[in-house]
């Protein structure tokens, strides 16, 4: 990954309302968004954003509803005109750019994927995918070839002549993605692009994005409400609150060292003397295999494949935890020949955590382990497992009530 800064944001502000400049003196005095709204009727969309995004990074922006995520990203392509500040793309300032130059940039180098898909209902899938090329004035033959290519990248080539309404939500968003990819931009803006999809399809789309990213590194600015999604795809995450960016870092950095109460509320709960322990939040959502004659490694592999799950937790007949096997590890012991044994397929380092362990202790383990952490009682019996998502959600629920009254939970859509 190159170190070159692709997008640099400097002192960027958006204030909604008449004569927005009136808000600056109050902002200087440290007045809050609410106070300024009460006093002047102006809404602070984004205040004093400063950061940069290196080329090829997936940069995730998170924050509660109304925190300014969409406003920030829409200033990158000037769907929203910034009130003050700069957005430098490859060193050129978008904010002061002339209309013609901006249009040229939007047609060739920066595109956007929308939460609501925003496909043109009167155009075919192919015409939709070719939309950006059409505005750029590319001849029909050529743009259709390129749009077909983009559709192929998202697996929708056979649907080129369908109308968007004939497709499922997930497929429609693939068209949205293809439309974005067809212009072959170096920057892709995605405003809650997968939020409207159901969880399975959402994961699939995340994988799709990661795959596309591995083929062609673009700079992706991705807004998300979903902690799991952000952790999964983000190289770095920015957390926004009331128009300000309160922290930027890798998922691990933010998990381990949240900048303030607000970020804690997002990532690990606000109360460090948390009374919850690992046993309280472990869930039996993982596949378990009891070690007895009936179900050997082959059967478990088949079950994992059938249920499309990556790991199985192996227990003995007394439910005592033995280890974790994965699809790959099972495959390799089966391939080795002879009678396959679970013991040979156990993943190294899959140590269980004690039910009494405080949640803070889990953070380093959770960030290190690719699998959900197995939790056992004093007798070593399996109680369940803790995934990143379960962990974050559980903590969040336990700690939110007094600390952030009146706000919506982070994973609720606004």
């Amino acid at each position: 990954m190159a170190d070159k800064e692709k997008i640099v944001v400097k002192n960027l502000y958006k204030i909604f309302g008449h004569h927005p400049a009136r808000a600056f003196p109050l902002l200087k005095k440290g007045k809050t968004k609410e106070e300024i709204h009460a006093e002047l009727g102006l809404t602070i969309g984004v205040q004093d954003a400063n950061f940069s995004i290196p080329e090829g990074e997936i940069f995730v922006i998170m924050g509660l509803s109304g925190s300014g995520k969409s406003t920030l990203v829409r200033m990158f392509n000037r769907l929203i005109q910034p009130t003050r500040g700069q957005v430098l793309v490859d060193g050129r300032d978008i904010v002061s750019m002339g209309k013609a130059e901006l249009i040229k940039l939007l047609r060739s180098d920066m595109s956007m994927v929308f939460q609501s898909f925003a496909l043109m209902p009167h155009m075919t899938v192919l015409q939709n995918a070719a939309f950006g090329l059409e505005t750029a004035g590319m001849p029909k033959k050529e743009r259709e070839l390129r749009a077909l290519d983009a559709l192929e990248q998202v697996g929708l080539k056979p649907y080129a002549d369908s109308m968007p309404r004939e497709l499922s939500g997930g497929m429609q968003q693939r068209v949205g993605l293809a439309r974005g990819l067809a212009v072959d931009p170096s920057i892709l803006l995605m405003d809650e692009a997968f939020s409207a999809l159901d969880p399975l399809i959402r994961t699939e789309m995340q994988d799709e994005l990661l795959r596309l990213q591995s083929e062609h590194q673009r700079t992706v600015v991705f807004i998300s409400h979903d902690l799991d999604e952000a952790m999964r795809i983000g190289d770095r995450i920015a957390i926004m609150e009331s128009g300000r960016i309160v922290q930027i870092g890798t998922p691990d950095e933010i998990l381990q060292d949240p900048a303030d109460e607000y970020v804690k509320a997002f990532f690990r709960g606000v109360d460090p003397t948390n009374v919850l322990s690992a046993g309280d939040i472990a869930r039996k959502t993982q596949v378990t295999a009891i070690r007895h004659k009936g179900e050997g490694p082959r059967a478990v592999l088949e079950r994992l494949n059938r249920e499309d799950r990556p790991y199985a937790y192996v227990l003995d007949q007394k439910k005592v935890y033995q280890g974790i096997v994965s699809v790959d590890s099972l495959k390799s012991v089966i391939k080795d020949g002879g009678e396959p044994r679970f013991a040979d397929a156990f993943l190294p380092g899959a140590d269980p955590v004690d039910a009494a362990a405080p949640l803070q202790d889990l953070i380093p383990l959770l960030t290190a382990a690719p699998w959900p952490l197995p939790v056992v009682d004093e007798a070593g019996r399996y109680l369940g497992a803790i995934s990143k998502n379960i962990f974050l959600k559980a903590l969040y629920r336990a700690d939110m009530p007094e600390e952030t009254t009146g706000e919506n939970p982070p994973e609720a859509n606004g």
């Binding site: 901006l102 249009i103 047609r107 609501s116 496909l119 939309f131 950006g132 505005t135």
Partner: protein, 283 residues
């Protein structure tokens, strides 16, 4: 002597003002108004020649074909039967004049109204300025138009078409504006995000998506034209208003009835045909 609160004598001489204004317009700008009249006259005469010149059997065939293509065979049958009946009632020529007037008036309404509607959709200020004018055009009773129109454009079929244009224009302007403004914000945003200029946005996204609403406006404009064209018989315009008007004057209830029936039948055909324009047949 009448007291103030009897409100008998006009204290505001509005009547005089209007009269003075119109007189002044007539005295000073009659030639300009004749200039407006010229294109209307050309189109109207052309249409009249066309509708009257085509053999009735051919005309029925063409309209039936259009109905079949646009709506379906039931509508085609209905159209054929209706036109045939109008012919049997002896109203063919009047009907053709009426159709020529409606087509001419609607052509001008669309040619002026759709661009105005598009402009209004692009500028809140223009829309705000246009709105009271449209309200006035629509709420003023049809008869009230006739006097100034006669003074400025004299009497006859062309003057009737001009009165019709003014009366029937508002819906197409309003609904064009509305249709474009109703296009979902996210689609407008998407087209901007992909570098569409304003005119690309209008041509490729907003106008196509506003089409059903614009067609609903066209339908209303057509129906209003038809009603006004009949009233225009009062100022000497030809068409189906003539038998109604004559029947009224000489208390020939039969004549007025036949004219009225023909108007209703034509209205039904036009209404259904143009409604079909707004809701294209599912593919």
């Amino acid at each position: 002597m009448a007291g103030f609160w009897d409100f008998e004598d006009p204290l505001i001489p509005m009547e005089d003002w209007i009269e003075t204004t119109v007189d002044w317009l007539v005295a000073n700008y009659r030639s300009e108004f004749q200039l407006i009249k010229w294109p209307v006259q050309k189109v109207m005469w052309g249409m009249e020649a066309l509708f009257k010149g085509v053999h009735p059997a051919v005309m029925i065939g063409l309209l039936t074909l259009a109905a079949w293509k646009l709506v379906g065979w039931r509508m085609a049958l209905f159209t054929a039967a209706t036109l045939f009946l109008v012919g049997l009632l002896g109203m063919w020529e009047h009907t053709m004049v009426t159709l020529a007037m409606v087509v001419s008036a609607v052509a001008f309404c669309a040619a002026v109204g759709i661009p105005l509607g598009i402009l209004a959709s692009q500028s809140d200020r223009f829309e705000a300025g246009l709105r009271p004018l449209l309200d006035a055009m629509q709420t003023t009773p049809a008869f009230v138009y006739l006097v100034p129109v006669v003074m400025l454009f004299s009497i006859g079929t062309v003057a009737g078409v001009i009165a019709t244009i003014i009366f029937a224009m508002p819906p197409i302007i309003r609904l064009t504006n509305l249709g474009i403004r109703q296009v979902p914000q996210e689609l407008v945003e998407a087209s901007r995000a992909f570098g569409a200029t304003r005119s690309q946005r209008l041509r490729r996204v907003q106008i196509p998506l506003a089409m059903p609403t614009i067609m609903a406006g066209l339908n209303q404009t057509i129906m209003l034209s038809l009603s006004m064209v009949v009233i225009a018989a009062l100022i000497g315009a030809g068409g189906l208003g003539v038998p109604v008007f004559e029947g009224l004057n000489s208390l020939q209830v039969g004549l007025a009835g036949v004219g009225g029936l023909s108007i209703v039948l034509i209205a039904m055909v036009l209404d259904r045909l143009t409604q079909a324009l707004g809701t294209p047949k599912a593919k």
